[in-house]
Structure formats: structure tokens, C-alpha cells
């Protein structure tokens, strides 16, 4: 039996990615990273800033997301996100730019804790990215 399932990543503007033959997807869920394999139980969860890793038999692709929702049902994984970057499109400059914006955002005083946590998380993830 095949170990593959379908993943679909959509953002508001378009369908970002649709892939039939993935074997594993690792998503940065709100309460920690979560790997999803075939026949996972139906689940709905949130994303925090981090990396989505999509594994198929032949390759592995990485995406950086800032937020989103994942839904897994009947071996269909849907990821809804408003901000996603393909890792191969990002370079140091671009990352620095995003980090700078985020730092500016977090320097404002009147934001709530959850938001601050998310922004800090984002900065941390971005800073630790090692580009290959």
C-alpha cells in the first residue's frame, strides 16, 4: 500500500501548492512541531511562524509560514495561510528585511502577549535559518 497522501497549500490569492504524492509533512503547529503521515487522525490546528517541510519520495521542499490553519481529513491535508514563502526564493537580504519589519512591530508597546510571542517566534525562526 502506498504511503502517499495529498497536500494542498492555499493562500488568499491563489492555490500555492498542490501535490499528490507526499509521504510526510511537518508543520509548525501552535503547540509544537507536528509530523503528519498517511492515515493521521482528522485534525484541525493552528500554525505559528516556522517551517513547513514537505517530503515526497524523491525530494524535500521547505516553506516558511507566518500563520495559518491546517486541516487533515481523509488523507487530504489543507493548509490555509496568508503569508508563505518558498525557501528557495528567500535569500539573506529578504530575510533580514522581514526580521527588521518584525522587530519594528514588536518594539511597539501596546501589543498583547500572544502577539508578541508570535513575533518573537518569527524572529527567532528566521534568524536561525541556515540557507543552503
Amino acid at each position: 500500500m502506498s504511503e502517499e497522501f495529498k497536500v494542498e497549500i492555499v493562500n488568499p490569492e491563489k492555490s500555492f501548492l498542490s501535490k499528490e504524492n507526499v509521504t510526510e509533512v511537518v508543520v509548525p503547529a501552535f503547540e509544537g512541531e507536528m509530523g503528519i503521515l498517511k492515515d493521521h487522525i482528522s485534525i484541525i490546528s493552528f500554525l505559528k511562524p516556522g517551517l513547513i517541510k514537505v517530503f515526497s519520495k524523491s525530494e524535500e521542499t521547505k516553506y516558511f509560514v507566518e500563520d495559518g490553519i491546517v486541516e487533515f481529513k481523509d488523507n487530504n491535508l489543507s493548509i490555509l495561510t496568508s503569508s508563505i514563502y518558498n525557501m528557495s526564493d528567500l535569500d539573506r537580504n529578504k530575510i533580514d528585511q522581514i526580521v527588521k519589519e518584525a522587530e519594528k512591530e514588536s518594539s511597539v508597546d501596546n501589543i498583547d502577549d500572544q502577539k508578541r510571542y508570535l513575533i518573537d517566534q518569527k524572529i527567532e525562526v528566521l534568524k536561525n535559518l541556515n540557507l543552503n
Binding site: 494542498e8 492555499v10 493562500n11 488568499p12 490569492e13 491563489k14 492555490s15 503547529a29 501552535f30 503547540e31 507536528m34 487522525i41 482528522s42 485534525i43 484541525i44 490546528s45 493552528f46 490553519i69 486541516e71 481529513k73 489543507s78 490555509l80 496568508s82
Partner: protein, 291 residues
């Protein structure tokens, strides 16, 4: 009767108008294709979002403590209407249709002695509403500067709405926009977004046991604001496709009418030219005969 010179001038002026409308039609057609593609590409996101929310709200057990965005404040006193129109004119009945739909709703609300608040998105809507409902308009938003429709703008509108909701400024929120069906048909829509109205009670009871992480309530309270932005974004996409479609058919009509007018004027011009020649001939002949 107009002189030959006058007719000539009319004809050339109608012809240049025709050129303009023809060019506008072509631009609209090109833009329409893009807008339509965008609208179609944007649909999966809002559909998926809707699905997830339906699944979630179906599974929520504690209705009392459910987020207010879903269930409402329990009152229906103050209505907020978000009227979404275009920033440019010359697009046929596009804006008028939305306004007409919105005005019906306004009148219904005012008749029931409820409080009406209006947010206009797009400057044309504001222009048309300010005469009658000036004191009801609490905010006007326009995205004249941003070239393309982007989620960021929609999110801004969504945040404004949520902000006002949290300040308890209104109980019910509805948005008005045109849904794009095809180039000639756009259907003005009224959609209630707060409290969320599931217009179709899903008959397939989605009792699939989902696992939630974190709890349902927390997901819902995070998801609902996003859903509002998403709905606004969807409305914006539909609106822009509708606007271009409407403009295209309006300009098509205008071009055709101008063509007809040119034909008519040309016939009139030729007739009066002919009449003048005949008159001159008669004068010459009768002059020669009298000799």
C-alpha cells in the same frame, strides 16, 4: 436644421468619443481576464475557510461561551453595513446596483427603528450615499492607491470591523458587493458576516471526530477574525471582476451606440448635402429658363 458644418463637427466628435469607449472596452477586457482569474484562484481559500469553520462550529459544545463573533451579541439593535463599491466610474450600473441593494436594506432597518452605521469601501459608494445617509457613515475607506487587490488591504478592513465590534459599536454586520457571474450578469449580494450566518445548514452532519489542537474555542476565536478578512477579500475580488465586466459591457454598448449615431448623422449629412446641390441646380436651371 443644422448646417452642414455643424453636422460635420458632430460626426467627428461622436467618432472620437467612440474611439475612447472602444479603448476603454479593450482595457476593461484585458483587466477582466486578470480579475476573473484572481477571483477564481481566490475561491478555494474562502471555501476551505468556510468549511473548517462549519466543521468547528458544528462541533462546539458550549454554545454559551462560544465566541461572540459567531453567535452575536444577543441583540440586533445596531447594524453595520459595509458597502463595497469601485473607485472609478464609467462602469454601467455596477455601483448603482450595489447602492440600490444597500438602500433597500437601510430602509428596512430604519423602519424597524434600529440604528444604522455605514462603512463605505471605494469612493463611488461614498459619493452616492453621502447625500442621503451622511450622518450614518462612520468611516470611508478607499484603496485608490493600491494597484492590485491584495489581502493586506482586506485585512485592514477586517481589522477595522473587528475593532469596532469589540468596542460594542454594533451587533450585526453585513457586507454588500457584486458577485461576478459572467460578463453581463453581476448579482448584487448582501452577506451577513457577524454573527456568522451559515446560509446552508449542512445536512451532512459532520460528525467526523476531529482532533483539535489547541481547544475548539481557541481555534474558533482565532479563526473568526481571519474569516472576516477572508470574506472581505473574497468580496473585493468578486467586486473587481464584476467592475471590469460591467465596464466592458457598458463600453461595448456605448461604442455600438456611437456607431449607430455616426451612421445616422452621416445619412443626415449626405441628405442635406444632396438637398443643397439640388437646390442650387434648380436655381441655375430656372435662372437659365427665364432668360
Amino acid at each position: 436644421m443644422a448646417s452642414l458644418d455643424d453636422l460635420k463637427k458632430r460626426i467627428s466628435s461622436v467618432k472620437s468619443t467612440q474611439k475612447i469607449t472602444k479603448a476603454m472596452k479593450m482595457v476593461a477586457a484585458a483587466k477582466l481576464r486578470r480579475a476573473q482569474e484572481n477571483a477564481e484562484k481566490g475561491r478555494p481559500y474562502s471555501e476551505k475557510m468556510n468549511n473548517i469553520i462549519l466543521n468547528l462550529s458544528g462541533g462546539i459544545s458550549d454554545k454559551e461561551n462560544a465566541p461572540k463573533l459567531l453567535t452575536g451579541t444577543g441583540e440586533e439593535k445596531t447594524h453595520l453595513c459595509v458597502v463595497m463599491t469601485s473607485d472609478r466610474g464609467l462602469c454601467g450600473g455596477f455601483n448603482t446596483n450595489i447602492i440600490k441593494k444597500a438602500k433597500q436594506y437601510f430602509q428596512k432597518i430604519l423602519k424597524e427603528n434600529k440604528i444604522l452605521k455605514i462603512i463605505t469601501v471605494g469612493s463611488k459608494g461614498y459619493d452616492q450615499l453621502k447625500r442621503q445617509y451622511k450622518e450614518n457613515i462612520i468611516e470611508k475607506i478607499s484603496f485608490k492607491d493600491s494597484k492590485n487587490i491584495n489581502y493586506f488591504d482586506a485585512d485592514k478592513v477586517g481589522k477595522i470591523i473587528i475593532d469596532r465590534f469589540e468596542k460594542k459599536e454594533f451587533d450585526v454586520c453585513a457586507i454588500f458587493y457584486n458577485q461576478f457571474k459572467n460578463v453581463i450578469t453581476q448579482i448584487p449580494q448582501e452577506q451577513q458576516i457577524i454573527p456568522l450566518k451559515s446560509n446552508k445548514e449542512k445536512e451532512t452532519s459532520s460528525n467526523d471526530s476531529y482532533e483539535f489542537e489547541p481547544e475548539e474555542d481557541e481555534i474558533l476565536s482565532n479563526l473568526l477574525p481571519k474569516n472576516i478578512s477572508t470574506q472581505i477579500f473574497k468580496a473585493m475580488l468578486e467586486n473587481s471582476a464584476s467592475e471590469q465586466g460591467s465596464r466592458m459591457s457598458a463600453m461595448d454598448n456605448a461604442t455600438r451606440n456611437a456607431g449607430e449615431m455616426v451612421d445616422k448623422l452621416t445619412i443626415q449629412y449626405n441628405r442635406s448635402r444632396q438637398a443643397a446641390i439640388t437646390k442650387e441646380l434648380i436655381e441655375i436651371i430656372s435662372g437659365a429658363e427665364s432668360l
